[in-house]
Amino acid sequence: MGETLRKLFHITFGAIIAISIYFLGRDGGLAALLAMLLAGMVLIQWKLSGFEEKVIDFFLSRMERRVTIPGIGALMFLLGAILALSFSKTEVFAASVLLVFALGDGASTLVGLKGNHRIFYNKKKTWEGTIAFFFAASAASVFFLGPAALLLSLILAFVESLPIPIDDNFTIPIAGAILSYIL
């Protein structure tokens, strides 16, 4: 239940950020993300120092994985959004990368947990999860990018399935930003 709720929040949060970027533009979007990032860092520091707040504790107790830093998942997602928006060629492409990441990653975890067919180069992931990533990501980004969304989703689904020791909150936005100059 915790992982499902966490991924549903990940999808909703990511979709809200992507749509906000589409309307706020690059500068406004980055300013809003910076404000959220700074507030998040202060909250993490306060939580580590023993600060208690009912609403925050409610979310942390239900959606957090077993981690050493409270709220690190949300912080990583914000960092990914900043990297995508800063280094993509256009804000429309950045918003698409974020939609791909939010919906694709969420769908891949939700479907992949029930999958049985392990990927030969990464035993931690399943083919079902990767295919779910591709379909969810394509459906989300095709409205912004047209046919290029299929290629973007396919490449990012492959990147997500790779056994890279770096958090996929970084690898997918960075790969998306690089693709914005190629596609």
Binding site: L37, V67, L78, L83, S86
Partner: protein
Amino acid sequence: MEFATGASSAEMYFVLACFGFVALLFSQNRKAMFIAVILATVSIPVLKNTLNEDRPCIGWASCPDDAGMPSGHSTLAFIFAAGSLGSPAFWFFFPASILVGFSRTYWGAHSLSQVAAGAGLGIALFFISQELLIFLGEVKRQRTHWKVKRFVKMKRLAARRKQVKKHG
């Protein structure tokens, strides 16, 4: 507004760097911070040349020649802010990073989005460095939940206080 990256800003950054050096003694993750600084030093010029975004001060007398995206000062400052999360040094590094970012926009050296990109890049580089160190076996991955860790820390502190009280 006149562009001022001369003595005033150099002095401010020097003072911040001195305090930062002392604050480093109180923070963990120094190895990851060092690797992140190296990664930043390598990646910032590449990103600046690739993105080639103008600075707000372009055309002013003492505006730097290179491109503005992302802000190198903010990247370096936020590496230390991220690295000191969970330690008392955070309360120095975090306001100092904000001050550095603010000064870059105030003096026209960078726009707010360039500072935001620098901050995001700095924090991301720190976490990437930490994960690389764990992957290479240089640092052990901590698996203790933050609540348990805090509880153990509080218990140890209480025991130490009790001992100090007992022995005067």
